[in-house]
Amino acid sequence: MIHLAGIERIFPVGDERVHALSNVNITVHQGEYVAIMGPSGSGKSTLLNIIGLLDRPDKGVYSLSELDTTELTDDQQASVRRHKIGFVFQFFHLVPRLTTAENVELPMILAGVDPAERKSRVQTALSSLGLSDRTKHRPDQLSGGQRQRVAIARATIMQPDIILADEPTGNLDRTSGIEVIQILEDLHTKGMTLIMVTHDPDLGKRASRRVQLVDGKISTDTGDS
């Protein structure tokens, strides 16, 4: 369960202090499917980064599964990211010199998983996403849709509780975009919490809960916390 209370995030821009987020309160239960929507600059990505422990709020409390994350050290946060959170980015962020299999393997390498087990888990993950014949390819030899599927395989290889997707279809054509969304929704039906940032209303409609951000504040929230 994700619980944010009174979250504020302030960025200094020149002499001014911009409130990227102000007084954000939201609770997301395990297994929910949430779309965070809003115009650009409304703080969607900042909110997602805070939920993903990539960024720390300036004020407020964020507890993840009853654990107050603001009190964790950087290393403890890294460990939470490693085991509980999977990220999917708009620009995929695959390591260009590594093959598909090696990219998917990365989180397990960081976690110190045994090499033999790593190999078999990578194979299962890639074949379930229809990428078995692409394991030796480098990212620049893959299509956009394939790259995002590799990124999803990497995000889910550690079997996290939460998938955070930041505009996952923003860089894809319509067909492969829908393909990617279906994969993410499959993960949701298997029990993972899916939180997706998007400015596309059609995608937002597919989510069971929609949170609208305007100027760093939640303006509407279809789910009830």
Binding site: D74, D75, A78, V95, R97, L106, L110, G112
Partner: protein
């Protein structure tokens, strides 16, 4: 994260950018090779000098007539003519238990002729023990026989070059040659030995000391060569020599004793200092390589900003990132050092072929030092870029494309 994985990951990162990796390895290799080669040259010079000295003989003491050190006080009015060293002086020295061998030496120059050939050479008057003291060896025949040194036998031993010039390829053994106004029978030829500090042993003729004294009509010795019983006996032998001569010369210290060890250790110290300073200069090139590694690693960090952000997003700790980048610098410097070793061996081999008489060998400590300094510079100069990578803010790192 397992260390095998760290090395593998860093290795892939290095092989992903072959040009910059090769350039850095080259810089490191040149640094390491220059340290090793310059030390080898210095060490070679040291060994060259040491070898020259030991070819003079081991545990050697040289007794010269007269005093070389200056003493204070007004100059003596009547002049201080040192007494000559005589054969009796020399023989008295052998009584000391610290001295194993003694060879008196008289040197002069005289024409040597056989049939119609005539050569002006150095005539060395000595005894049988010179053979052992100077580590001589024979090409033909035998050396001057042992026996009473005050008896002048009419025999001589020729240097290699002199024999070639007088006799060509003929055997000189048993032939009579004329030295000055006397006739000597040739009983041996010295083996080719080369130069040993000034005196070319190929261009001499050695005769018994009494014969040489008669030839040059003198009772004085040029010097006395002594061989002490061992390294520890050298200072004692020196004392004994001075005491004996003082007693025989009515209380006057009118000889100088030079010990080869004192001379040798002075040269040794100078040459070691020279080697170290040259190695130090070469070490500067290693640190230049280190700075290059730092620069290129800093560029690598900014090139790979998004990758670092991603690693953090998927749960890499700051220490993981630090380790990955340090491993890269370490691998670079190790491979560089490896190539440097190969380069140094090739250079060594080339130099050894170009100058066969000069003993060029890199000492083991130089190899170890060069490689460990290379690794150290790689790590030290890798710290700054690695820390910069580790402290990157993941959100900003990922927002860049």
């Amino acid at each position: 994260m397992k260390s095998v994985d760290v090395i593998q990951f860093s290795w892939k990162a290095l092989s992903g950018y072959p040009t910059r990796t090769l350039l850095m390895i080259l810089a490191m290799a040149i640094g390491v090779a220059s340290v090793i080669l310059l030390t080898a040259l210095g060490e070679g010079a040291r060994r060259f000098v040491t070898d020259e000295f030991t070819s003079l003989g081991t545990y050697l003491l040289i007794v010269l007539p007269g005093r070389s050190e200056t003493t204070g006080g007004p100059p003596p009015l009547l002049g201080e003519t040192p007494r000559d060293l005589t054969l009796e002086d020399a023989l008295s020295l052998t009584r000391s238990s610290t001295i194993r061998r003694m060879a008196p030496i008289t040197v002069g120059s005289a024409p040597v002729s056989w049939k119609h050939r005539d050569r002006e050479v150095s005539v060395l008057g000595s005894t049988a023990e010179l053979f052992e003291i100077r580590h001589l060896s024979m090409a033909q025949g035998r050396f001057i026989p042992a026996g009473d040194p005050s008896r002048g036998l009419a025999v001589c031993v020729m240097g290699y070059k002199l024999k070639k010039e007088l006799f060509g390829n003929q055997s000189p053994l048993g032939e009579w040659v004329r030295i000055g106004d006397r006739r000597f029978r040739v009983i041996g030829v010295l083996a080719k030995k080369g130069q040993s500090l000034g005196l070319d042993m190929g261009d001499v003729v050695v005769v018994p000391v009494a014969s040489a004294q008669a030839l040059f009509n003198t009772s004085a010795l040029f010097r006395i060569l002594l061989q002490a019983n061992g390294r520890e006996a050298i200072p004692k032998a020196k004392k004994a020599v001075l005491a004996t001569i003082r007693e025989r010369h009515e209380g006057e210290d009118d000889v100088t004793v030079i010990t080869q060890d004192a001379l040798l250790s002075t040269f040794d110290r100078i040459l070691v200092a020279m080697t170290l300073s040259v190695a130090g200069i070469a070490a500067i090139s290693l640190s230049v390589a280190g700075i290059l590694i730092m620069n290129v690693m800093l560029i690598a960090v900014s090139q790979r900003t998004t990758e670092i952000g991603l690693l953090k997003a998927i749960g890499a700790r700051g220490t993981h990132i630090l380790g990955l980048f340090l491993a890269e610098s370490a691998i670079l410097s190790l491979i560089g050092a490896g190539f440097g070793l190969i380069l140094a061996f090739l250079g060594n081999w080339g130099l050894a072929h170009a100058f066969p008489r000069f003993p060029i060998t890199a000492p083991i400590w130089a190899l170890v030092a060069a490689v460990s300094v290379a690794l150290l510079t790689g790590l030290v100069f890798g710290v700054l870029p690695a820390r910069r990578a580790a402290s990157l803010d993941p959100v900003q790192a990922l927002s860049r494309r």
